[in-house]
């Protein structure tokens, strides 16, 4: 049984219990407790239940498993309690006590799934996953919700595209090197997001390096499989540290991967080596990075007008970076383009949460206000930085959903 290490994070979590003044602001903001009684709210399962969690004693309460990990509680807490971290660790203890269900083992291994489905066999895999009876069987046997939005595998992986493409014409002058962290979603499902990212970065004078990389481990963390998450993060740090140590930034289009490299993995797993820290400090969301270039006057502004008003949903995992809305900051430079922020708390998918049979409907109910906002906007296109949220938005609101980098590539007139 894995006992949580007593580290400084554990300590700060314990101290943050005392900062909870029981004001219930988090309960009022929690999108999950808003729609179901199965989750009594962040205050109860976080700072309150934590008082009853002791090593060598059974977990007092299982409802923490219904926390979606969206971190809205952290965002709104007036006194700075780290509720989401308390919950994630509590879930990991629950998992350590009871083991990980096969279903959760499966859906948290996005790399394995991706390798199975992406490539020339993709049409077949997609056909299978679109086949009702099979989905029913998956639901019955494994507990993967039949209606849940599973992405379509790509016929080619992003990495294979990158390897095969003809090298870009070298611009004159020195180019700044950047490492692109594509993550599983871009590699196996949406290579066009990575192509847009590469195009925009190269357009702005960057030399894009695709370092070896593994799944960031977030699905493992949110399913409580801390041991596997640690292995994933150790591998990524080994791959990325040589660049980070040289000051080469690591740029990602998946807000969850970048958050995991920056904070989730080091904090939840208690990994504190200098290399881990350097990788974290050198990791950027792509728009965060572009915004820095803009602030230094280094971002190209040769935008073509896009006369559109689009709904934009800042995903929970982006908000957890605490860096504002970098995609809005950059896209509002594009003439004619207007993005309207959703203000919905969460789309409900929360990574793998909404895929689970017992949580699918909760996820849909959580997302309902967002879907309604998007539908009312009348737009046939929504913008969102996170892949699973885009799939959920398309599933719930019935409109296409794009990564903001795709919009920016279009504004630059880049062919991808």
């Amino acid at each position: 049984m894995g006992v949580m290490p007593h580290d400084h994070i554990e300590l700060s979590l314990e101290q943050s219990l005392d900062h909870c003044i029981k004001c219930n602001i988090c309960t009022a903001a929690c999108p999950v407790s808003a729609v179901t009684d199965l989750f009594p709210g962040p205050k109860y399962v976080g700072p309150q239940a934590q008082r009853f969690r002791h090593e060598r004693q059974p977990a007092p309460d299982e409802s923490v498993d219904y926390c979606s990990g969206c971190r809205v509680c952290n965002e709104v807490c007036p006194t700075g309690v780290k509720i989401a971290e308390l919950n994630a660790r509590a879930r990991a203890r629950l998992v350590a006590e009871r083991g990980i269900p096969l279903r959760n083992r499966l859906i948290s291994r996005s790399e394995v799934l991706g390798r199975l489905g992406a490539g020339p066999q993709a049409p077949l895999a997609n056909l299978a996953l679109g086949f009702g009876p099979l989905r029913l069987a998956l639901e019955r046997v494994l507990g993967i919700a039949r209606a849940a939005p599973l992405p379509k595998f790509s016929r080619y992986t992003f990495r294979s595209w990158f390897r095969r493409r003809s090298a870009p014409m070298a611009n004159s002058g020195p180019r700044r090197q950047v490492v692109y962290f594509h993550g599983c979603a871009t590699n196996y499902y949406e290579p066009w997001v990575g192509r847009a990212a590469v195009a925009v970065l190269e357009h702005n004078g960057c030399e894009v390096i695709i370092a070896p990389q593994r799944c960031c481990g977030l699905p493992l963390l949110s399913n409580g499989d801390f041991a596997a998450a640690r292995r994933a993060h150790e591998a990524n740090v080994a791959y990325l540290a040589p660049y980070a140590l040289r000051g080469v930034p690591i740029i990602g289009t998946s807000t969850s991967c970048t958050l995991t490299l920056k904070e989730e993995a080091p904090e939840l797993l208690g990994m504190r080596s200098a290399m881990v820290r350097t990788v974290a400090e050198q990791t950027f969301d792509i728009f965060e990075y572009l915004r820095m270039m803009y602030e230094c006057g280094e971002l190209r502004a040769d935008f073509r007008p896009i006369e559109r008003t689009l709904p934009y949903h800042p995903p929970c995992q982006l908000r957890a970076h605490r860096i504002g809305r970098p995609a809005l900051d950059i896209l509002e430079l594009v003439p004619g383009l207007r993005l309207v922020e959703s203000h919905a708390d969460c789309c409900g998918i929360a990574g793998t949460y909404g895929l689970k049979r017992e949580k699918y409907q909760i996820g849909m109910d959580v997302g309902a206000p967002l879907f309604e906002t998007i539908r009312r906007s009348g737009s046939d296109l929504a913008v969102c930085d996170s892949e699973t949220c885009r799939w959920q938005i398309t599933h719930g609101a019935g409109v296409a959903a794009r990564h903001p980098i795709e919009i920016l590539a279009k504004a630059y007139g880049l062919v991808i």
Partner: protein, 420 residues
């Protein structure tokens, strides 16, 4: 480079951001979390320490206590802020009534009476001086709202009141009936129809019915109108314990107004440090994943809520500090004197007067009496010079100084004062 950053998303920060946004400066609001909006009653309390009207009280403060936040900005600036506040809430279909001429006495959930200057119209029929028998109605499921207790306390003060419990119609939820859950239920017309019918049966000879302030998040006016029609009595809201539904509505109204004028909110970002050149603050640093986020900025409004909001911290070594910009804090009493022996001491606790001293442009003052920064203004509960708890002036000081600070900051660095 930001033209303006507001630190804090309580009433003072939001009003300041509104002023800056309406001046075209596209302010960014950085806040550690939600402010007291989500805790407090949703009313605007200008003055409640004695029987004087807010206008009279404020006039005398201006002459008698020049360091009081009201005195720093003057009575006209307070009136200006109230006018803008009323216009914004009215435009959002959540109108406030009242003003500086007199306070209204509203019942609390415990049946005490509370002087209020500006109140959402959904609370207006609760004015105890207006006369008319009251029914206080609630739900067993809602913790911390006991109609019989409230009614008994009101009756003891000579206000005819009766407490009743309503039957919660069958709803999918069985647990956690906090204010928000109930407010969501009231958003549903079918739910309030059932409540309205019960109110009609329970009304008796009463002409008005007080309910916990959970009458919908989206369209409280519509909810009150429906309930009045169905019950045949006037209906009013009584603030609950936190979370405050009226406060959430007010936050939503102000956020929407700020964003419409080009401002933006970044909640969950604590400002931990500032850098400046001489008397000009140039950079703010906020806490973020893996590293600080830096914000270069031309003007800053500090509205961090004082001790209750986290803008002022003490430690057990007796140190009092301002958390975001590390400004000097005025605190005349030493550690041993921070607290009176009794929790509800009529003299209050000295520590609550701790705050940042400011000049008449609300610029923070150093120990030498000169502004620490030219391009910073301070507003709300972080200001020194008043025990707003005991004055019952906290929200009044928050919106008045927030608005005034925003207006003055907007004019900073411009030759002519901008008008809008």
């Amino acid at each position: 480079m930001h033209e303006a950053i507001v630190i804090g998303a309580g009433l003072s920060g939001l009003m300041g951001a509104l002023a800056l946004a309406e001046a075209g400066l596209r302010p960014l609001v950085l806040a550690k979390g939600h402010g007291a909006t989500h805790w407090a009653s949703g009313t605007i309390d200008l003055w409640g320490k004695d029987e004087r009207s807010p206008r009279d009280a404020l006039r005398s403060i201006v002459t008698a206590r020049p360091e009081h936040p009201y005195a720093l900005i003057g009575v006209d600036a307070v009136a200006d802020a109230l006018a803008r506040f009323r216009a914004v809430t009215e435009a959002a279909r959540y109108p406030y009534v009242g003003g500086m001429d007199h306070s209204v006495l509203l019942p609390t959930a415990a049946g005490a009476l509370r002087p209020v200057a500006l109140l959402p119209i959904t609370m207006a029929a609760g004015d105890v001086r207006a006369g008319g028998e009251m029914v206080i109605a609630g739900f067993h499921e809602l913790r911390d709202f006991y109609p019989p207790l409230a009614a008994a306390n009101l009756a003891a003060q000579g206000i005819a009141a009766r407490g009743v419990y309503l039957q919660l119609p069958p709803v999918p939820r069985v647990r956690d009936f906090g204010p928000r859950t109930l407010a969501q239920l009231f958003d549903d017309p079918a739910f309030r129809k059932q409540i309205g019918r019960q109110l009609r049966q329970q009304r008796g000879s009463a002409t008005r019915i007080g309910l916990p302030a959970v009458l919908g998040v989206r369209d409280p006016l519509g909810v009150v109108a429906d309930l009045q029609l169905l019950s045949g009595a006037q209906v009013f809201e009584i603030p609950t314990l936190p979370p405050s539904v009226p406060g959430i509505r007010l936050f939503n109204v102000l956020r929407a107004a700020i964003e419409r004028s080009g401002g933006r909110l970044q909640i969950g970002s604590e400002v931990i440090r500032a850098e400046g050149v001489g008397h000009i603050l140039t950079t703010l640093c906020s806490e973020a994943a893996a590293r600080e986020q830096q914000h270069r900025v031309r003007r800053v409004l500090l509205a961090t809520g004082g001790i209750a909001g986290g803008g002022i911290r003490t430690n057990d070594a007796g140190l009092v500090r301002e958390t975001a910009l590390d400004l000097p804090v005025r605190m005349d009493v030493n550690h041993a004197g921070w607290f009176a022996p009794r929790f509800l001491d009529p003299g209050g606790h000295a520590i609550y007067a701790a705050g940042v001293a400011a000049d008449d442009r609300l610029r923070p003052l150093g120990v030498d009496g000169w502004p620490v920064y030219e391009n910073v203004a301070v507003a709300g509960a972080t200001l020194a010079g008043a025990d707003t708890l005991r004055e019952r002036s906290r929200t009044g000081v928050a919106i008045a100084t927030g608005w005034a600070a925003g207006r003055m900051l907007a004019a900073y660095g411009c030759d002519a004062t901008r008008s809008y």
